[in-house]
């Protein structure tokens, strides 16, 4: 009996134990961290701690551990992967580039930190994500105007950058601030730069280099113009795939470490704390879908004044359309508030494109008149905003023309025609009446011939 009860309770609990990745819970909690050496566990502990305090189970392994694997029996063991192993040439276990790409293709998240002398393996993964690291493996991003002032490092490779993407959803609404000053604390970066492939519209530069930066080997003389210069260099990029998997690519592993205190060149303010911790915490919240993950539910449309959804609309009908949109906050779905959600009434091209009104509680609605073109239409909501997962809803609905009896019947302009017809008919009746009843030869013959014609 006790066995039965325990089995029963297990089956009851099981769904809750497996509350990992699903459309209803976009934040998975199992994270595999692959390191080059385990000392990173201590030196990057602030980053790991911030993840752990947010409820993630970090499974920290060496990248060449022969026992690691992303899936077992066709089931993924992890919801996210962090690659802090820039120099690894071959992963242990069953992990390779294809396995990692499949992992991302299944909608799971990935964080890659590269560094100087990054291995071809890491570069290959980055290229698959639409990011090209500088080909020169010894190259570092150098910036002689916005570097972090230090009495011990004079190479200007430790960059203090504050050229962040302007997006509250990716970086959080709180400004990256130093604790004491109101000014933005710069983010420290030391590593390789990369460019994003222009044809790839899914990659975003989150942290860019300043216009005076360039990527070169600081120890060698510059013989050719550097291939990467200026703000085309991206220091940290993110990718949001079409399946909403999110990837973070950073050219520096040390930016995740517990480093603090920074003074930017040319500025007298010395910051007690660099922006790295907040920058990475907020960015990891975005990567792990704790922000910017939307879902749309209860899409409804009906004629004005009715409640039921019709199977077909007639041209020129007035209709109402509504949808509810929620954002995942890491633990629950919160109403999403925006004023730029748009609906399209679409057949080959949009006939109507209208911004939805909102009640600020996640409910979006509008009403419009069906165009006077019939055919098979779609209600389309294509919501693509910087940093948010894309919403793509479409619902097919046919539109028919007027039926024969739905046209206007009493048109004043046509009254004279009606009048003429009826007047003619009256005359006709009266004349036939008269013809039949009247005496006289000639008229009878003529009118009878006429009557035969009429019949």
């Amino acid at each position: 009996m006790a066995k039965l009860i325990s089995l029963l309770s297990l089956t009851l609990i099981l769904p809750f134990l497996c509350n990992s990745f699903s459309p209803d819970r976009p934040t998975g909690h199992r994270v595999l961290v692959l390191l080059d050496d385990l000392a990173l566990k201590s030196s990057h502990s602030l980053f790991f701690n911030s993840l752990q305090s947010r409820g993630f189970d970090l499974d920290i392994k060496l990248a060449d551990d022969p026992k690691i694997g992303l899936q077992r029996y066709g089931q993924y063991l992890y919801d996210a992967l962090i690659l802090f192993s820039p120099t690894v040439d071959r992963f242990g276990g069953s992990i390779d580039v294809a396995a990692i790409l499949d992992f991302v293709d299944s909608g799971r998240d990935l964080i890659i930190a590269s560094d100087v002398n990054a291995s071809d393996l890491i570069r290959e993964i980055a290229i698959e994500c639409g990011v090209d690291f500088d080909e020169d493996s010894a190259a570092l991003v150098i910036d002689h105007t916005s570097y972090a002032v230090s009495s011990t490092e004079g190479g200007h490779t430790l960059i203090a950058s504050d050229d962040l993407i302007n997006s509250d959803v990716i970086l959080g609404s709180k400004k990256i601030e130093a604790s004491s000053d109101l000014d933005t604390a710069p983010v420290l970066f030391q590593g390789v730069g990369h460019t994003i492939t222009p044809s790839n519209s899914l990659v975003l530069k989150v942290l860019s280099a300043s216009p005076s930066a360039y990527s070169a080997n600081p120890k060698a003389k510059l013989s050719n113009p550097p291939s990467l210069t200026g703000s085309a260099i991206s220091l940290v990029s993110v990718v949001q795939a079409r399946n909403n998997a999110r990837v973070l690519i950073s050219g520096s592993l040390s930016m995740f470490s517990n480093r603090s205190a920074v003074q930017k060149a040319g500025s007298s303010i010395k910051y007690e704390k660099s922006g790295n911790e907040q920058f990475l915490t907020e960015l990891s919240k975005w990567i792990f879908h704790e922000r910017g993950h939307l879902k749309a539910v209860s899409v409804r449309h009906h004629k004005v004044g009715e409640a039921d959804e019709p199977a077909v609309y007639r041209i020129n009908d007035e209709l109402e359309y509504s949808v509810e949109i929620y954002e995942w906050s890491g633990s629950s779905w919160e109403p999403y508030v925006a004023d730029d959600v748009q609906v399209q009434f679409y057949m080959m091209s949009p006939y109507v494109l209208k911004t939805l009104s909102t009640d600020q509680k996640g409910h979006y609605f509008t009403s419009f008149k069906v165009p006077d073109v019939y055919g098979v239409f779609q209600f389309k909501v294509e919501y693509n905003r910087l940093g948010y997962t894309s919403l793509s809803l479409s619902k097919q609905i046919p539109v028919r023309p007027y039926r024969h009896n739905e046209y206007e019947r009493f048109i004043p302009a046509a009254y004279p025609y009606y009048g003429a017809a009826f007047s003619m008919l009256f005359t006709y009746i009266a004349s036939s009446f008269g013809t039949i009843g009247r005496g006289g030869e000639t008229t009878v013959q003529g009118s009878s011939a006429r009557l035969e014609n009429f019949d």
């Binding site: 030196s43 602030l46 105007t145 085309a232 109507v352 209208k354 008149k369 693509n384 009843g437 009247r438």
Partner: protein, 666 residues
């Protein structure tokens, strides 16, 4: 008396920072007691020990609650060895009032454990506890009579490569265990009632040397120990492992009278390893780091970026790892040479002056030092010969030093030259310190020359690392050379795109304090038409902000309704259509309508009436068709009515025809 003794030999390029105030505040943040005590005595010890080493006075007051649990643990006869050990360790710091009888009660128990112990951890905890009791109570006799035997039984667990096993039936060897074993053995030596066999200590030293053969190294010169076998049931990271070895080693070095010969750079590398971690975010890591660096190591920290414009002095701060001042010593600059050239020997054997106020050694840079990268070699010499025994000099410290300064930019001008003749087409002076807006125009047969002079503060010609002129239209770059540029060779780089290009000049170097990025102006380029095979310009990245925002609204334009006349006009014409009808009736009346010919007999009269009614019904049907009915209903009804009318009409007419033929014949 031997101490681990190191002075920095900075082969590595990077200089590690000692423990600072950041560590102290981090410690207070990390070790936060909940409800006046820590979760376990082990945590309490780690917190208290870290506070003690860092010298934090404002530690949270946990002594009452913690002492209470210490007394409870020590008093109870059922508490585990591990708990006893940690309780004693906490007691060592907090000095709770533990009665002598309590200690006397524990000692026999511990000794019993030692004599029957088989695993390393049992030895570690029990001997560690005895050692702690020895330190905390003077009256209790803790000395071990059979120290040699215990020493041998612990030594029996060691492996040939210097690592140890946790117990005799566990074949896995561990570096972490080696650290524990060394610490335990140190305890045995200190507790021994008689002198330990020196040969055994000798073999142990061999083991330590072997252990150091397995040390691992980073590129930057830091050394660390790591477990070979990763899947040990209780895995320790490199920090915990290295820390364990260092603790064991220092403890052992404390109790033996002989010097342990270890390569100095390895011990230094270990210290660097601990410091390179920065501030760990985990209490365990934090304790391990802090506890390990409490061994007396000295770091010298030269400032490696010197500014000529600020008249920076060469400063070397010498202190211990924990940030306190070092014993009196002299820092010597053995030599300083320029990194680029071999012959550039600048300074040789100079002694740095010591400034008590800022407690650092400094040297005025000689006048002939120009901006650039240099390698300075330092040596530290201790004043006190006693200290020299404690801190053996490790060698010379090589430090790369950047001497920065303001570079003068002069004689800047931009010229467009005619290619063949070299004649000047247009020439503009530039002021690179201020704002410039130059606008030039050129075609592909001409040359552009941008020239300026860079000079160091001492007047030498300066060649910066970054020297870029950028014509921005499609991100094409020109490397500035001494020659003037020929647009002919660049047309392909510009993808044959004529138009206005912005000129940007970037000059920067690590030693240049006034690195700059300047927009100089525009140049109007007139390039030839692209040949067919010319490469297409690459895709330009799209601005992410523009790709996303909302789209412009679209509203459908409905077909305009037909134009209609005003209602009044229609009604007037409606009236007009009835005028002929009225005229007709008047005409009928004038003609004198009669119904003489209307059939008088019953049957034809009925047909005639029905015929007229039928026509009236058709008229009514038409009226209804207009008002209400649709075509199909109307046609149906009309079909029925038509057939009826045909029938009755035919009867009426045939009657009329027969009457008229009768009349004729009559």
């Amino acid at each position: 008396m031997v101490l681990l003794s190191v002075i920095v030999i900075c082969e590595a390029a990077s200089v590690f920072q000692p423990i600072t105030d950041a560590h102290r505040s981090a410690a207070l943040e990390l070790f936060k007691p909940s409800d006046g005590s820590f979760g376990s005595l082990e945590e309490a010890y780690e917190a208290l020990r870290s506070f003690e080493i860092l010298g934090i006075d404002k530690k949270p007051d946990i002594s009452t609650a913690t002492c209470h649990s210490v007394l409870e643990t020590l008093g109870s006869s059922s508490s585990s060895l591990k708990d006893l050990f940690h309780a004693l360790r906490v007691n060592g710091i907090l000095k709770c009032k533990v009665k002598e009888e309590v200690f006397e009660g524990i000692v026999p128990r511990l000794k019993a454990v030692i004599s029957s112990a088989s695993s390393l951890l049992e030895f570690y905890y029990s001997i560690g506890s005895l050692e702690l009791i020895k330190g905390q109570s003077s009256n209790v006799i803790v000395l071990l009579s059979d120290a040699d035997g215990i020493f041998r039984s612990i030594k029996a667990l060691s492996q040939s490569d210097g690592r140890w096993r946790y117990s005799s039936n566990n074949p896995e060897s561990s570096t972490y265990a080696a650290g524990l074993a060394l610490k335990t053995l140190a305890g045995v030596v200190s507790l021994a009632s008689s002198e330990i066999d020196q040969s055994m200590i000798g073999t142990l030293k061999n083991d330590i040397t072997k252990l150091f053969d397995s040390v691992e190294k980073y590129d930057d010169g830091a050394f660390y120990f790591d477990e070979k076998v990763v899947e040990a049931h209780e895995h320790h990271g490199p920090l915990a492992t290295t820390s364990s070895v260092v603790r064991g080693l220092t403890a052992f070095a404390d109790v033996t009278s002989e010097n342990i010969k270890l390569p100095g750079d390895k011990i230094l590398g270990l210290a660097e390893f601990f410091l390179s971690i920065g501030i760990p975010g985990d209490t365990k890591d934090f304790f391990n780091q802090i506890d390990s660096v409490s061994v007396p190591l000295i770091l010298s920290l030269p400032a490696t970026v010197l500014s000529l414009s600020k008249k920076d002095q060469l400063k070397v701060k010498v202190n211990t790892v924990l940030g306190s001042n070092a014993p009196p010593l002299t820092v010597k600059l053995v030599r300083a040479s320029s990194s680029g050239s071999k012959d550039g020997l600048l300074i040789e054997s100079q002694e740095l002056k010591f400034d008590k106020e800022i407690s650092s050694h400094f040297l005025e840079l000689p006048k002939n030092v120009d901006v650039g990268k240099y390698t300075f070699v330092f040596e530290v010499v201790l004043h006190d010969s006693e200290h020299e025994k404690v801190y053996a000099t490790g060698g010379q410290t090589r430090v790369p030093v950047f001497v920065t300064g303001i570079i003068k930019v002069d004689n800047a001008e931009i010229v467009v030259l005619d290619s063949d003749l070299g004649s000047v087409e247009s020439q503009k002076k530039l002021d690179l310190a201020g704002e410039n807006v130059v606008s030039l125009s050129a075609n592909h047969l001409q040359k552009l020359r941008l020239s300026f002079q860079l000079a160091t503060p001492l007047g030498h010609v300066f060649k910066p690392h970054q020297l870029l002129e950028k014509l921005v239209w499609l991100q094409a770059f020109l490397k500035l050379s001494h020659d003037s540029k020929d647009f002919l060779g660049l047309v392909e780089k510009f993808y044959y795109l004529s138009g206005s290009y912005d000129i940007q000049l970037t000059v920067g170097d690590a030693v240049m304090e006034n690195s700059f990025l300047k927009a100089i102006g525009q140049i109007e380029l007139d390039l030839p038409e692209a040949p067919e095979k010319a490469p297409r310009p690459p895709l330009q990245p799209v601005d992410p902000y523009s790709r996303y925002g909302p789209k412009a609204e679209i509203s459908h334009i409905f077909r305009a309704p037909d134009k209609r006349p005003p209602k009044e006009l229609s009604l007037a014409f409606l009236g007009l259509t009835f005028v002929p009808l009225v005229g007709f009736f008047i005409g009928l009346l004038r003609l004198g309508v009669n119904f003489k010919n209307f059939p008088s007999s019953a049957v034809p009269a009925t047909f005639a009436i029905l015929f007229h009614l039928g026509i009236a019904a058709v008229l009514l049907l038409y009226a209804l068709f207009w008002l209400k009915l649709d075509l199909f209903t109307t046609l149906k009804a009309l079909g029925v009515l038509g057939a009826f009318l045909l029938f009755v009409g035919h009867r009426v007419l045939s009657h009329l025809a027969s009457t008229s033929s009768k009349l004729k014949s009559a």
